[in-house]
């Protein structure tokens, strides 16, 4: 069975997406910065280092408990920049609208965007709007790109994890994925799970101030915590051990995951970060995260080890061990 077209799996952020990137994109666009495959590109300029990032948003439905495609699009790019240690400064906006979209709906989305921009201290400085005939796009798609400035002392990247580092997760897993999923047509779920979409730039600056040697920051969006940790383990050539007992999941999210056969480790987050920091700075970093309004439930979920490089291993509640893999295949299409 040969496949010669793009499948939803290719957009999953999991294994197929990686394959597409390595087989099709990277050979054509050879650039050392691109090849690092960070959430954002770090660029040296005469004025210092800047971070540059882009992201597209196609979430279905565009309104979900806890947010909408507008604040999601702003927060997503703010967070991509923040994960490079950058302070977000400028943003662009590309709107693709389906003919027939209610102006009022668009206005709601734009108001949320304006509020999110203000919260993150980011300026929207350029933009573009296209309208396509009814049926050729679904309501609204948004692209945002952003530029941020990286403080000279910050050296944060996915390949910097070192044995002995503590792994901190800033709060409960899976809220965004489950909040969106429960809104899907045909899924009649009664639930009060709300998306965690939130800007994390302030949390990141607090971490940098409290624990300057922080090694890695990553927001576990599509593919969840499991995929993000696997990427870090691969890029840094280290092993990561996590403890099932300490993994934070809201009971409602755990219940829905159980029912649908999903692993919360694979479900998307939009307002959480993973922070890998040397052990002697871990308590400072953790305290800084917990002081942030979006990080109150933060905790240490595991450690980096020199063993089993490239692998993430989970100690289960009953004392067993198993490997935690990246998400393969699309779990929930159009989650962000």
């Amino acid at each position: 069975m040969k496949n010669d077209s793009i499948l939803l799996d290719h957009g999953s952020g999991g294994k197929m997406a990686h394959q597409l990137m390595h087989d099709l994109l990277l050979p054509l666009f050879r650039d050392p910065v691109l090849a690092r495959l960070h959430d954002g590109a770090l660029l040296e300029t005469p004025q210092g280092r800047i971070a540059f990032s882009t992201d597209s948003f196609v979430v279905d439905p565009p309104f979900f408990p806890g947010g909408n495609i507008g604040d999601l699009a702003v927060n997503g790019t703010v967070n991509d920049l923040a994960m490079c240690g950058a302070r977000p400064a400028f943003m662009s906006l590309g709107l693709i609208l389906e003919e027939g979209l209610a102006i009022e709906t668009l206005q709601c989305i734009l108001i949320s965007m304006a509020q999110a921009l203000e919260r993150s201290g980011t300026r929207l400085v350029t933009g573009d709007t296209k309208v396509v005939p009814r049926g050729t796009a679904d309501k609204i798609f948004i692209n945002t790109s952003g530029i941020g400035f990286v403080p000279p002392a910050a050296h944060i990247s996915g390949d910097q994890a070192r044995p002995g580092d503590c792994v901190i997760l800033s709060g409960n897993m899976g809220d965004h994925g489950i909040a969106v999923l429960t809104q899907r047509q045909g899924l009649d779920f009664e639930s009060d799970v709300i998306s965690d979409t939130a800007p994390l730039h302030a949390m990141v600056q607090a971490i940098l101030a409290a624990a300057p040697p922080v090694h890695v920051l990553r927001d576990p969006t599509r593919g969840g915590v499991a995929t993000a940790l696997n990427e870090i383990a691969l890029q840094s050539g280290v092993g990561i051990e996590i403890d099932e007992h300490s993994l934070p999941v809201a009971p409602a999210v755990a219940g829905i995951c159980e029912m649908l056969g999903l692993d919360p480790l694979h479900v998307a987050n939009e307002g959480k970060l993973l922070c890998l920091v040397p052990e002697d700075h871990a308590s400072n970093a953790l305290a800084a995260i917990q002081r942030d309004p979006f990080g109150r439930a933060a905790c240490i979920i595991g450690r980096v080890t020199g063993d089993h490089p490239g692998r993430v291993i989970l100690s289960t509640r009953i004392g067993g061990r198993r490997i935690v893999d990246m998400l393969s295949g699309e779990q929930l299409p159009r989650i962000c």
């Binding site: 069975m1 291993i313 100690s315 289960t316 509640r317 009953i318 198993r322 490997i323």
Partner: protein
């Protein structure tokens, strides 16, 4: 907080350690246990139970993943249905990537077919109510566990007088397959861990005839770590004492008679037919067809879904894996040509498939505490 408390009680590390110790003490000789149910397979991996069991115990994964035991021709029929004009196919997500002879539902969808993932048969009924003018066909693949809910959906559609809802039934029942499995050449099974969910519906009595004939150690078990360990301990004891019994270690959910209301729905809407299982051939009375009284909800009657049977995919040994003759490690394609991203056989696709479980939990590396 109910969810958490409940889970904690059955995931207690102290109790688990105690059970593991007793299992290790009891299992003096090599023992081969088959967990029949795909959910058990996944739970054994997910909770790290395989890493805790003594090396004398080999866990074999059985034919309890509905997608895996579905024949390639049946997948081809699903795809043929999706390609019909004005048809919306509603399916559980697991089926999307399963390779048929030349395509998968996912590829059919990429090529323009309208295929939607739903989480229950009732979701498909509701879809049909919204999609008047098009026919919503639900792909009924599953065991005794899902068949009553599909039957319920058909009854609901009848009540609503929905002309545009139908089901393609490839449902199967577990007990007839167990018997075939025992006689399957090359299988050595010392005991069966019987499926919890299926037994909640069918009750322990559904296994009585089979057990009477086969007299093999059998224990019905639940899905939490403590349930599984208790089930395994009970099996090991029976095997070592050479005292086969049909035991119910999931008493809080499984009764002798099962869920009779669900059984009634099942019997009302479906009738037993011979069915083909991947790897095991035709098993008498192991399938469920829609009764003629509900013919108008039967996609097999409404559409011409004749497909030419093509030879099964070369090199895939799913059939031998489903019967416990081989493990994924014996498959030359495992992990190289065949991965969850590029599945060759259904066992690599389904979240309950044995090959997928071995792959995502890297069983070949033999992680131990």
């Amino acid at each position: 907080m109910m969810v958490l408390d409940y889970a904690c009680a059955f995931q207690d590390a102290g109790i688990a350690g105690h059970l593991v110790h007793r299992i290790a003490q009891a299992a003096n000789n090599p023992i081969r246990i088959m967990e029949v149910c795909g959910t058990h397979t996944m739970a054994l991996f997910r909770h790290g139970i395989r890493s805790l069991l003594p090396r004398t115990i080999t866990m074999l994964s059985g034919p309890g993943c509905p997608v895996c035991v579905t024949e390639q021709t049946d997948i081809d029929r699903c795809i043929a249905l999706a390609r019909q004009k004005d048809v919306v196919v509603a399916t559980f997500g697991d089926l999307m990537r399963v390779p048929g002879s030349t395509a998968s539902l996912q590829m059919a969808k990429a090529a323009g077919a309208d295929v939607r993932v739903v989480y229950s048969a009732m979701d498909a009924v509701n879809l049909a109510r919204r999609q008047t003018g098009r026919i919503v066909a639900f792909l009924g693949i599953g065991f005794e566990t899902t068949a009553p809910t599909v039957g319920g959906a058909i009854l609901a559609a009848e009540q609503l007088d929905l002309p545009n809802f139908c089901v393609l039934s490839a449902h199967k029942t577990v007990p007839p397959a167990l018997e075939t499995l025992m006689a399957y050449p090359g299988t050595t099974i010392d005991g069966f861990l019987l499926p919890g969910h299926v037994s909640i519906i069918s009750g322990v009595r559904a296994y009585r005839r089979w057990f009477g004939r086969c007299q093999i150690p059998s224990v019905v078990a639940g899905f939490e770590p403590i349930d599984l360990l208790q089930g395994i301990l009970a099996l090991v004891r029976q095997i070592q004492a050479d005292a086969p019994a049909l035991e119910n270690a999931y008493g809080r959910a499984v009764t002798e008679n099962g869920n009779t209301a669900a059984q009634e729905v099942l019997a009302r809407v479906f009738e037993p037919v011979d069915a083909r299982w991947r790897g095991m051939g035709t098993i008498a009375n192991s399938g469920l067809a829609i009764r003629s009284a509900y013919a108008r909800f039967d996609a097999a009657r409404r559409f011409d879904l004749a497909v030419t049977p093509l030879p099964p995919t070369k090199g895939c040994i799913c059939g031998d894996i489903l019967t416990g003759v081989k493990t994924p490690r014996h498959c030359p394609l495992f992990g190289s040509t065949c991965t969850p991203a590029t599945p060759v056989g259904p066992c690599m696709v389904s979240s309950e498939g044995t090959c997928a479980a071995y792959y995502s939990y890297h069983e070949q590396e033999g992680i131990r505490p």
